[in-house]
């Protein structure tokens, strides 16, 4: 087309249009006309070609883009995504609640959220908290109000639930025997008509909104003492509110977003979800100067006790010198709520498919957690091991920072532990004092990587061996005569009451009165004297300085130790050979310290405090320190009570007690 130009020589006639002139000329110039026609045909051809090319190009471009990501970069694993429940736009929830002697269940919109028909379990009042906007279950609890004090726990729990939440109550078997007036009043204030008159073996269901309307209540009276009320089934409807109404309006920060996610999912954590004045979830404790444990990973071993974990992590994150990035929480099982707690604090959590049962399960969980810790932090030489039912002292990391070099340099050490088995309110005194002991206390301790990788991990008890990991670690084959360093006043506090090897009585007897350091920045005394040889020198110095107590008196009596302060006293007990703890056990019993097995000994010597005096107990003649006994003194012998109260199984206390 470009080649063609109108002949400039022949000018078009004025009166005719350009086209006509052109046509005229074409008609008259055959050659030119031919040229023009060929040009047009060519042009058509070109257009067709360009069109085809364009179409092909576009196709290919699109195809390439698809390909580009499709080939190498596709996730090989088919992403099996659990189909999400469609967003529930329904404004009304159907709630079904059943109460009977042997079975309770709660169904929300046809989904069973609680079902308990196990025998001899789940007695009492079951409480379920639903989110008033989404209908999700936020908390599930059972309070055995047949037994004492459980009603107090229920009141505590109900008080912590935010206003507006939907509460569902149902009784299994019996729930009134120890349901006191206070608790009944709380239930009444929630709108229950029946609660104040609940009595022996009544069946009862109730659905209501905290601080609002009542959706339904049903009750069946027990006709006689020996029989139960008829099963009751309550069917009702609950009207949902909008999401905005169900949430607090905290300022939009990263922290508050975490808080919001947490508080819309779970209930029963009190002021952390308070709209007005929520308790902080970031603590920023003072950093430690010259912190030697800043890069030491911290493994928190947890089960399904989210409330414990919450309390534990709060205290851990408030400890001076904590490094949240090094903390990993290992949850034994696919429990959601503990994971929610972990995420609330912005920590990382790992779930572990349970292997084996009971103690062996705990043991396998420990192994997996420790291995994972050293995998995640390959440069670490140590790991701090904590459990979910411990409070952590404010100077926990300061204590470790001052002592960790010993674990690195002294081969005769097995661990550093924050827990003194014998450190009770009345037997521990000096926060700056450390001991060497032949037992492994656990409950917040430091593990050397080389010990784990070279010795423990390859030999760790297999799942079919139903062993406690801590008992196993205490066995001579593992410990090989090495010792642990412990503080006089513990840097951890064991608050767990519910657990695998734990119950309320046991806790009260052995753990409640344990001393726990609350003083920040304690400067440890004479850390170097804890090295193997130095420690012997130190003990000999102490024994040399110690006053021998009057061995004619009864060591269980308070008067056995004079009313002084800051003195060092020594007593000698009979200990025929290394494993003879007859007298020690009796002494421990009457001193109200740990007597279930031998703890806290170092070469037949125990160190503790009585009446603010340092109190040394030496086993004669088994202990090498027996030579310090004046010849005039006869070691005290205490006989075990004639009749053993059956075989008392020694519970493994240091293990993380999972329920």
């Amino acid at each position: 087309m470009d080649e063609w130009k109108p002949n400039p020589v022949v000018k078009p006639h004025k009166k005719r249009s350009w086209y006509l002139a052109w046509k005229y000329k074409l008609m008259n110039q055959r050659a030119l006309r031919k040229l023009c026609q060929t040009g047009a045909v060519l042009f058509l051809l070109v257009t067709v070609i360009v069109n085809i090319k364009l179409i092909l190009d576009t196709r290919r471009a699109a195809y390439e883009e698809e390909e580009e990501s499709a080939q190498d970069y596709d996730d090989e694993m088919l992403n099996v995504e659990v189909p999400r429940h469609p967003v529930n736009n329904k404004k009304v929830l159907d709630v079904e609640v059943y109460s009977s002697r042997s079975k309770v269940y709660v169904a929300v919109d046809g989904t069973t959220v609680l079902e308990d028909e196990a025998r001899e379990q789940g007695r009492g009042i079951h409480v379920i908290v639903l989110n008033q906007a989404t209908g999700h279950v936020m908390a599930k609890r059972v309070f055995d109000t047949y037994s004492p004090h459980e009603d107090e726990a229920m009141v505590l729990f109900l008080n912590m639930v935010a206003r507006g939440r939907i509460l569902i109550f149902t009784i299994k078997d019996e729930g009134s025997f120890h349901l006191k007036e206070t608790a009944k009043n709380v239930l009444k204030s929630l709108g229950s008509q029946v609660a104040p008159f609940l009595s022996w073996r009544d069946m009862w269901t109730f659905v209501g909104k905290k601080g609002g309307e009542v959706y339904g209540e049903k009750h069946a009276k027990s006709p006689a003492l020996s029989t139960w009320g008829d099963p009751v089934l309550l069917k009702t409807e609950v009207h949902l509110t909008s999401v905005e109404d169900a949430e607090c309006h905290w300022p939009d920060t990263e922290l508050n977003r975490r808080r919001k996610r947490f508080c819309s999912k779970v209930e029963g954590y009190g002021s952390v979800c308070s709209c007005k004045d929520p308790t902080p979830i970031e603590f920023n404790p003072d950093p430690l100067k010259d912190n030697k444990v800043f890069d030491v990973p911290v493994a928190v071993i947890a089960g399904n006790r989210p409330n414990y974990l919450y309390r534990m992590l709060r205290s851990l994150l408030s400890a001076q010198g904590v490094n949240p990035q090094m903390i990993t929480v290992f949850i034994d099982g696919y429990y959601e709520e503990p994971m929610d707690v972990v995420e609330l604090f912005g920590l990382s959590g790992i779930q572990h498919t349970p292997i084996s049962i009971k103690n062996a399960r705990v043991s396998q969980h420990y192994k997996a957690s420790l291995t994972a810790t050293f995998n995640l932090f390959p440069e670490a030489k140590f790991a701090v091991v904590l459990e979910e039912d411990l409070d952590i002292s404010v100077d926990f990391f300061s204590f470790l920072s001052q002592s960790i070099h010993l674990l690195e340099e002294d081969e005769s050490l097995y661990c550093i532990s924050a827990w003194n088995d014998q450190g009770y309110e009345h037997t521990a005194e000096d926060p700056s004092l450390l001991y060497r002991v032949e037992t492994m206390p656990g409950l917040g301790w430091v593990l050397r990587k080389s010990l784990y990788k070279d010795e423990l991990e390859p030999k760790w008890p297999t799942p079919e061996k139903l062993w406690d990991w801590d008992m196993w670690m205490r066995m001579p084959e593992q410990r090989k005569g090495r010792e642990c360093i412990i503080p006089d006043i513990s840097r951890s506090y064991h608050f767990g009451i519910v657990g695998l090897n734990m119950n309320g009585y046991f806790h009260e007897a052995y753990f409640k009165k344990h001393k726990f350091n609350t003083v920040p920045n304690v400067q440890l005394k004479n850390v170097e004297s804890l090295r193997k040889d130095n420690y012997e020198t130190e003990i000999h110095r102490l024994l040399g300085e110690a006053e021998v107590l009057d061995h004619s008196k009864n060591p269980c009596e308070d008067s056995f130790v004079p009313d002084t302060e800051g003195r060092v006293y020594v007593m000698f007990i009979r200990m025929e050979q290394e494993a003879d703890f007859t007298t020690w056990t009796q002494l421990a019993k009457c001193l109200h310290i740990w007597d279930l097995d031998v703890r806290g000994n170092h070469k037949g010597l125990w160190r503790l405090f009585r009446k603010k005096n340092h109190f040394l107990v030496v086993g004669v003649p088994a202990s090498p320190y027996s030579s310090k006994k004046p010849s005039s003194v006869t070691p005290i012998y205490m006989e075990p009570p004639a009749k053993e109260e059956g075989a008392v199984a020694v519970p493994a206390v240091a293990a993380a007690e999972q329920t």
């Binding site: 047009a40 990501s69 970069y73 990382s348 959590g349 390959p378 297999t462």
Partner: protein
């Protein structure tokens, strides 16, 4: 007038074509502008405006990460290649002003940076700021391989790659993790189903096709093109490392299945042997790495890694392979110095060389030297008492990194072929009785050493 009609028809047709063509052009342009800018720039070629865009995007990105105190370093192979040419000058005047935009304006689709995972706290704030600055970003997360070897642990997924896109340029941020064995690892880039496959042309990324293993780099703060940025202190060795960085994860799932079928030997002997084999391997790796000799896990040790991610407890020795071209005369004295006396030496450098060192308590370290031919690779064996020679044939292979008993070591990338050549298709079944002269499926008789050479080619200590 037929002739006129034809003309009119032709003219009309041409006109329609023209209109149609214009329409097509418009449509094509419209189609392209919907695609990302990179694709468009690909079509239009580089222009000066594009050059400064890259520089600006990099500058903005560096500003973004420095405002969050996140230490990143440059690992872009294109730019490091350019820097490498002027490295002396850049090192000597780290603060010198640049007369022209020499590096960050170079034509490319991406600029790649590295981030060490442990040096930042995963603050969400970074991404909010990024969005405010106009970046679009994409995060690629996946399973944590450090937990993969563990039975049934499921951690949170970890971020492996980030891509920040602004205008027509994108920043690829590769997250590096520390692994046992004292090295850095980055993950593969795999898109999940719901992800935007067209966010950037993923294929052109320099990192992410495979996972990679790297040494911890020493860094150098330099100022280039008026931007302060950290680079590996020795860019050329980094680029060298990058070309051989492909990492293979152990096949933990298959290993677990193997142990389901054949429960692991947990006897004290097995524990002891594994411990010794591990420390022997660590010592051998240290010695060979100091000499700069490339080696890989071979024979039984390789099988142990591939089949069960562990040392085979009944294997009784540690086997390594070395290409004969990497042979150094210092190898024997170096091992002796490390406390591993030579036990025997078979063959010679030209033919069938094999060294054996005595480790602690009967654990032996065997080093086989591999000879490359056009279509296969082989190593030799010698029977001491008869002087018989054997040849073990392998298909050609390349080397990949892996992690084994807390060590970063090489294995053949084509491991299955390698193992199969050596142990036959039944390699998945443990065999306790193994005769190195007859059991391997790739063994060939290779004649006999001439008797007068025996003193040289059969040395036993």
């Amino acid at each position: 007038m037929q002739k006129i009609n034809r003309n009119v028809v032709l003219a009309l047709l041409s006109l329609t074509s023209l209109v149609f063509l214009l329409f097509q052009l418009c449509y094509y342009k419209f189609y392209l502008s919907q695609k990302n800018g990179a694709a468009f720039s690909k079509v239009r070629g580089s222009q000066s405006g594009q050059d400064s865009t890259r520089w600006h995007v990099v500058r903005k990105f560096l500003g973004l990460i420095s405002s969050h105190n996140i230490p990143v370093y440059l690992i872009d192979p294109l730019i490091l290649g350019l820097i490498n040419k002027d490295i002396e000058q850049i090192r000597s005047s780290p603060d010198g002003p640049s007369p022209e935009c020499k590096y960050f304006c170079a034509p490319r689709d991406f600029t790649t940076f590295a981030l060490l995972d442990k040096t930042w706290k995963h603050e969400v704030g970074l991404f909010r700021t990024a969005e405010k600055m106009g970046f679009q970003w994409l995060k690629i997360i996946n399973k944590d391989p450090r937990l993969d070897g563990m039975d049934d642990l499921s951690g949170m997924e970890i971020p492996l790659h980030y891509i920040f896109k602004l205008a027509s340029h994108a920043i690829h941020l590769v997250v590096f993790y520390e692994r046992s064995g004292n090295f850095l690892w980055h993950g593969p880039l795999r898109l999940k189903q719901h992800m935007d496959r067209k966010f950037v042309p993923f294929r052109k990324l320099h990192f992410g096709r495979y996972p990679g293993a790297y040494e911890k780099p020493e860094l150098l703060l330099v100022s280039i093109d008026d931007l302060k940025v950290q680079i590996p202190k020795n860019p050329s060795s980094f680029l060298q490392e990058m070309s051989h960085s492909r990492f293979l994860e152990c096949r933990y799932r298959e290993a677990r299945a193997f142990f389901q079928l054949y429960p692991d030997d947990a006897s004290l002997d097995a524990v002891e042997f594994r411990k010794k084999a591990k420390s022997l391997l660590h010592l051998a790796a240290l010695t060979l790495n100091n000499l700069g000799v490339k080696f890989w896990l071979s024979s039984g040790t390789c099988l142990g890694w591939y089949r069960q991610c562990n040392v085979i407890p009944h294997s009784k020795d540690v086997d390594l392979g070395i290409f004969i071209r990497d042979y150094k005369a210092d190898i024997i004295p170096a091992f002796q110095k490390a406390g591993l006396p030579l036990k025997h030496k078979f063959g010679k450098v030209e033919d069938s060389l094999e060294l054996s060192f005595q480790g602690e308590d009967d654990v032996k370290l065997d080093i086989f030297f591999f000879y490359e031919e056009d279509d296969h690779i082989w190593n030799g064996g010698t029977q001491a008492k008869s002087g018989k020679k054997f040849k073990y044939l392998f298909p050609k292979f390349t080397l990949c990194w892996t992690e084994f008993v807390e060590l970063k070591v090489h294995v053949p990338c084509e491991t299955q072929q390698y193992v199969e050549a050596n142990y036959g298709p039944e390699w998945k079944v443990p065999v306790k009785m193994w005769d190195w002269k007859s059991s391997p499926s790739n063994v060939q008789d290779n004649g006999v050493w001439p008797v007068d050479e025996w003193d040289e080619v059969i040395q036993i200590y």
